[in-house]
């Protein structure tokens, strides 16, 4: 469905309160039915050292059904569901990553991944469910292979960034990993088919029309041929991999080029951006505002471009740290803030 400027609005439908500190991360469960949830299920993590599970009830409101505490001793910075929806990974400033499994109606901590020297900042599950990746202020990215019996083996420690790594994200189709860093660069990592070694296949920095300050987030579109990055340089950048190679080929997703920079929309650091399967990019920033962007259609001769669909000023009382579209309902957006709340928004067409 085409979305036109004048005909859409982002309406706040619910405000989730309960965290005692800033909310850093959000993750919608991609398969809530595997996890005791009838419809939507959202996980949120916070500076209060806990993780909360919010479950949608019969009235279509999300309520906190579970609080996972007493495992992490410092801020829980990031959380991610496995593709099957039964496992949840949490990354913490206490330098560990915990794996939670949904067993008999409860979440049980079944593994703790140790190895990073200090704060773990992000965790992501590969689309195949085979790998996990974590990154840290220790400048490294670790790849973990999921083994039977809730075992996780570290198969690679990737060094290449010169500063702390802010976020890691697996490609939605193939085992290609992207990391973004305080060193202003974006790195693409892939496995060498012959040797099982992981290595950096591309670095996108200022020289490749990249960011000029810390890169805070990265997200892919649903077809995996574009990604968006957000930065302290107050811009969002769109990257494209237009490859003729078939989509199952890893090589096809290992060569990215800059196609578009969105600047002038946020006044402070852009901490998060996320791409809906309908093609709407949401961004949340330190200016307390949310922005939505869509691709400009019609000028097929020129390079693809993106335009602002709408901006929601004062979406929160403080910085917005994470924005996430619900994969089960593409018009529903969740945002997390330093104000300690999570807001649920609905993208509505105005008739």
């Amino acid at each position: 469905m085409e979305l036109l400027d004048s005909s859409v609005d982002l309406q706040e439908v619910q405000k989730l309160e309960g965290h005692a500190d800033r909310v850093w991360g959000l993750a919608w469960n991609p398969a809530p039915h595997n996890c005791g949830g009838a419809s939507a299920m959202l996980a949120s993590c916070s500076g209060d050292k806990t993780l909360r599970i919010w479950q949608m009830g019969p009235t279509h409101h999300l309520d906190c059904s579970t609080i996972l505490e007493d495992t992490h001793t410092r801020t829980v910075r990031s959380c991610a569901w496995s593709p099957c929806g039964k496992f949840l990974a949490t990354a913490s400033f206490d330098s560990t990553t915990a794996i939670w499994k949904y067993v008999g109606g409860d979440f049980e901590c079944v593994a703790t991944l140790e190895g990073h020297e200090n704060e773990v900042k992000s965790v992501t599950w590969s689309s195949s469910g085979t790998f996990l990746a974590t990154c840290s202020r220790d400048k490294t990215v670790w790849i973990w292979e999921v083994q039977p019996g809730d075992e996780y083996d570290c198969v690679a420690v990737l060094q290449g960034h010169s500063q702390d790594v802010k976020m890691v994200q697996w490609h939605p189709l193939v085992d290609v990993l992207v990391s973004v860093s305080y060193d202003n660069s974006i790195k693409v990592w892939a496995e060498d088919g012959d040797s099982d070694d992981w290595h950096c296949v591309q670095t996108l920095n200022e020289g490749s029309s990249g960011h000029t300050s810390t890169v805070w987030s990265v997200a892919f579109n649903s077809s995996g041929d574009r990604m968006v990055t957000s930065s302290d340089d107050l811009t969002l950048k769109i990257w494209d991999t237009s490859s003729a190679i078939s989509q199952t080929d890893t090589e096809g997703f290992a060569s990215w080029r800059h196609i578009c920079t969105l600047s002038g929309y946020h006044g402070r650091t852009i901490f998060s951006a996320h791409w809906s399967s309908e093609g709407v990019i949401a961004s949340g920033a330190g200016d307390d505002a949310l922005c939505l962007f869509v691709e400009e259609k019609g000028n097929s001769v020129e390079e693809p471009s993106y335009r602002l669909l709408l901006k929601k000023e004062k979406a929160h009382d403080m910085d917005i740290n994470s924005v996430r579209w619900n994969p089960k309902d593409q018009r529903i957006l969740a945002s997390a803030s330093d104000d300690g709340t999570i807001k649920i928004w609905e993208l509505r067409e105005i008739s």
Binding site: T75, F93, S213, R268, D317, M318, D319
Partner: protein
């Protein structure tokens, strides 16, 4: 091992006379500070809240060491912004990040949380100026630093020390 002081002989300045606002009417938004006639937060309010922070190295306040002055603070109440520029006493001051953390914590405690705070060292005052500025304004690094017990203790000592003003 005894660590040498980074700046062994700092220049100590006199504390400025306090501007008294004590006669102003009560019911102002920042009750711990001097009451304010028009209820608008200004640079002096911010300066008053941070002037007595102790230097991490010396038993003197940031004001006494001229690390800070009222002029180095700008406030935009309407936009909800506070900007502080401070001047470390020496070019290679490794304590600059601790001073920056102290300022940030103090402002978090004193002013409404929605204020956006930018903290920088004054241009040319530090050899690794850019590195320090980037670190001080990365809220994730700040949050992690404040969860580090050793750093937190150092910050708390600077904020709550009673050893000040031992002339």
């Amino acid at each position: 091992m005894t660590l040498g002081l980074i700046n062994a002989n700092p220049v100590v300045h006199e504390r400025r006379e306090r501007l008294s606002r004590a006669d102003d009417p009560p019911h102002h938004p920042y009750p711990h500070l001097h009451p304010h006639p028009d209820d608008v937060l200004d640079a002096l309010d911010v300066f008053d809240s941070v002037r007595d922070i102790r230097d991490p190295e010396h038993p003197y306040s940031l004001e006494q060491l001229s690390v800070l002055s009222e002029e180095s603070i700008t406030v935009d109440e309407k936009l909800g912004r506070i900007q502080i520029t401070f001047t470390p006493t020496v070019q290679h001051c490794s304590m600059a990040t601790v001073i920056g953390l102290c300022l940030r914590v103090k402002l978090m405690q004193c002013f409404p949380p929605h204020f956006k705070v930018d903290i920088k060292v004054s241009p040319g005052s530090l050899a690794n100026e850019e590195t320090v500025n980037k670190q001080l304004n990365d809220k994730e690094r700040v949050a992690a630093a404040l969860e580090n017990p050793n750093l937190r203790q150092l910050v708390d000592e600077c904020l709550y020390s009673s050893e000040l003003y031992s002339y």
